[in-house]
Amino acid sequence: MPFDVDYHAIAPELIVSGTILLVLVADLLLRPDRKWLSMVISFLGVAAALVVELTLVGDLRTSFDGTYVNDAFAVLFKTFFLSVALVVLLLSLRYFRDGRYYQGEYYFLLLSSFLGMLTISSSRDLLMLFISLELVTAPGWLMAAFRKRDPRSNEAGLKYFLIGILSTAVMLYGMSLVYGVTGSLRLQDIAGSLQGEPQAVAIAAVLFVVAGFAFKVSSVPFHFWAPDTYEGSPVPVAAFLSVASKAAGFAGLLQLMFTGFLPLAEFWAPVFAVLSVLTMTIGNLVATQQRQIVRLLAYSSIAQAGYMLLPFALVGGGADSQAFEAAVLYILIYAVMTLGAFAVVIGLAREAPGALISDFAGLGRRAPALALSMALFMVSLAGIPPLAGFYAKLVIFLAAISADQLWLAVVMVINSVISIWYYVGVVRQMYFVQVPEARPVRAPALATGVAVLAAVVILAGGIYPDLFARLPGAAALVP
């Protein structure tokens, strides 16, 4: 069967694929002390892909018989993933060079995972979605175990792998049932045949798929892997997992729920309500007990996933497009805040390899720029104005009230207040706790730069939310 292939539309994917092969080959030829050049190659490749992606803004192109679509949604998420890739690459350079890890392999795996994220944004077909999702996850298993001499990293990789493979199996089973019921893999056709009287098996199938995604976005009760995996992984990988990998899960979930499975919303929306409430509450409560910053960020990211799941619970309440936009906006803003926070942790990696929260003591004087940025991220994650995190929460509240689900907004509000306890705890540690000898921290320039840049974005976006408030609306899958 001949396919109509729009090469311009898939050019970013092709560039990234080429870069992946180039990195793999280059690694064989580079001298050991020059291995870090793999990062430069990767960076240039991703940057080129990003530039090409930006030429596609505003277009609507379909390839491969309509299963691969480049619409506003895809462009928004691809631009987002490519930008995140650039940041993760910047954060990785020093960590992996100084730590003497296998750099070529790492960048190869990282880019492969990002390639999966690019394809996930465009997939309008169950099979394509599944392959993309596995392309995102599988390299993650290896990367999590990259500090192979440290048992905790091995544990991280193994845990991620075992739970991941289980959830994959469940999801695939669900997808096969969907195919059995509807006779189609294309999301649009699935939506078409799910109209009308719902079949029990269809509902069960959807729930299986949701369970699979719940693992990807580390939703309770499939969240157990996240803290251990984040803690054991190299810190840049933890940043990658908590931002990029999670956003990829949400990108897939958004497409499935808001198009393919939309007709069954009255059955799955309450499931999301339960998932969301449990995820945010358990995430926040456990986060208050953490002593290690990466684990704190892990539980924080679980709690934040709960907020991002909330809009899914509103589907069918008459405010679908608002819910959709709220979810997208929250993912974008969450990514900036969390990447920034991880940049700070990476900046301190050499000073404080254990990354305990108490290592942050006195940071306000030892590294003013890092500390101030971190304070902004923490306050923003807690949702206090005038920072972007407040606006992100506000939009979710608005969507919840608009869909007549006030109780969800109230639960989220209470959770936000709980979360302040541990977010502000970090701030407290940096500014209030005095250390006997306050040595200045020599933070790497790249990490500091990323942190400061993210902080500026968070501040600017909070003061003038129109900066990115219009993005999700333009990218709506829902009319």
């Binding site: 509240f397 608005l398 502000v424 209030f432 003038y464 219009r470």
Partner: protein
Amino acid sequence: MSDWALTLAVFLPTVGALVIALVPGDRDRLVRGLGILFTAVPLVIGIALLFGYDFSAPGAFGDGSAGQALQYEVNASWISVIGARYHLGIDGVSLPLLELTLLLGLLCMVYTWRYLPEPGRPKAFVGLMLLLQTGMAGTFVAFDLVLFFVFWELVLVPMYFLIGLWGGPNREYAAIKFFLYTLFGSVFMLLGFLAMYFRADPHTFDMIALQQAGFSQDFQLLVFAGLFLGFAIKVPMWPFHTWLPDAHTEAPTVGSVVLAGVLLKMGTYGFVRIALPILPEASRVWAPWIGVLAVIAIVYAALACLAQRDLKRLIAFSSVGHMGFVMLGIATLTDVGINAAIFGMVAHGIITGMLFFLAGSVHERYHTREIAEIGGGMLQKMPALASILAFTAIASLGLPGLAGFWGEVMALLSSYNPAEGLSLGLFRTLMVFGGIGTILTAGYFLWMLQRVNLGTVPDRWREKTLSDVTAAEYVSWAPLLVATLLLGIFPRLIFGVTSEAVGTLVALF
């Protein structure tokens, strides 16, 4: 220029904070000078506003013409997606509080020129004070609910740091308690705002447009509960007051001045500006409860004050009582009562601000705030300081002829005759208990004066040289002392501004 006046008055302090961030850390004097400059210019703008202000204009309440009552109005697009706008303006209710904020902000900076609390770090201290200033001034002029909320919350983080870094021994506990407590209330307030947004047709966050929304009574009651939680914690009303004694006591001197002088008024202002005009029917239902809580606060605070041994903690508790009078005035929903409330807010800002300055100066000299350790005789040791303390304390207890008198007596007076539909018997009972409260208030202040000012100087202080009031103190206190006297003699200075505005508000009841 008149379009920019309010924006400049609100945001110049933030500009100042940014400028200070760029100044090298060792230029201590320059930093403090910039602090004075960037609060002085807003005050000058604030005074200039008065000349172009139409004092006979009605308040921004009530019918469709309310929008025109706003002066120096700015209404620009801000968050277009949700229709939140950058809407600033002033009317008779906002003006006195804005001026109070601008004045206290400058005086705190002047005080800081000489006294910087431990552990120093002028850049951070002055910068945070300036940020705080923007949040407070903005709250009183914002006419969009989202904007109001942003300003309202902007106050939290700087104050958290001011208490937590420069506060007393128990500062961290006080700082986080203040933070969590206030935030807890304000998120429910936010939900109330959002609910109103959705019920209004067309959806709007504009405070003036919302007054025409005509919400059903059940809805009003629910939303009022949310707003009440936010405002009442900020005021603070009994039984939500427990954060206040800790925060006020632990905060550095100027922090306490600003907390008592301005921050608490944000809560009472919220009732007058948002809760009453937008939710009039719910206000009528809630008013008796508010009145009861207010009077409990008055009596409870007075009794608590009698038991205090720490001078600063005593003043902190006295704030709870004074804010009780303000809330009692508001709860009557009458012209007299609400005028009295606004007068009470300004008077309390001036007098209690002054008292906290004094508590700071006493601590500066004795290095203790325990009344027993000071042990009396201050009138002999430091006659000027002691006289000022006596003057201010007497003003605070409500002596006729000084500023503290009008707010209290008129609040009591108004509860003799509350708005139509409110229970006469209940409010008259409240008046009696409020009256008992004023007697207790006089009692604890006079007793405090007796223990601090009078008597003989204890041996431990006799040989020490304790300097009397310094120039910096005179400069930063003089305006407050003069205002205390002037407002006492010419209450029209405030009532003249507020009465028209309050008139349009009470027409709703």
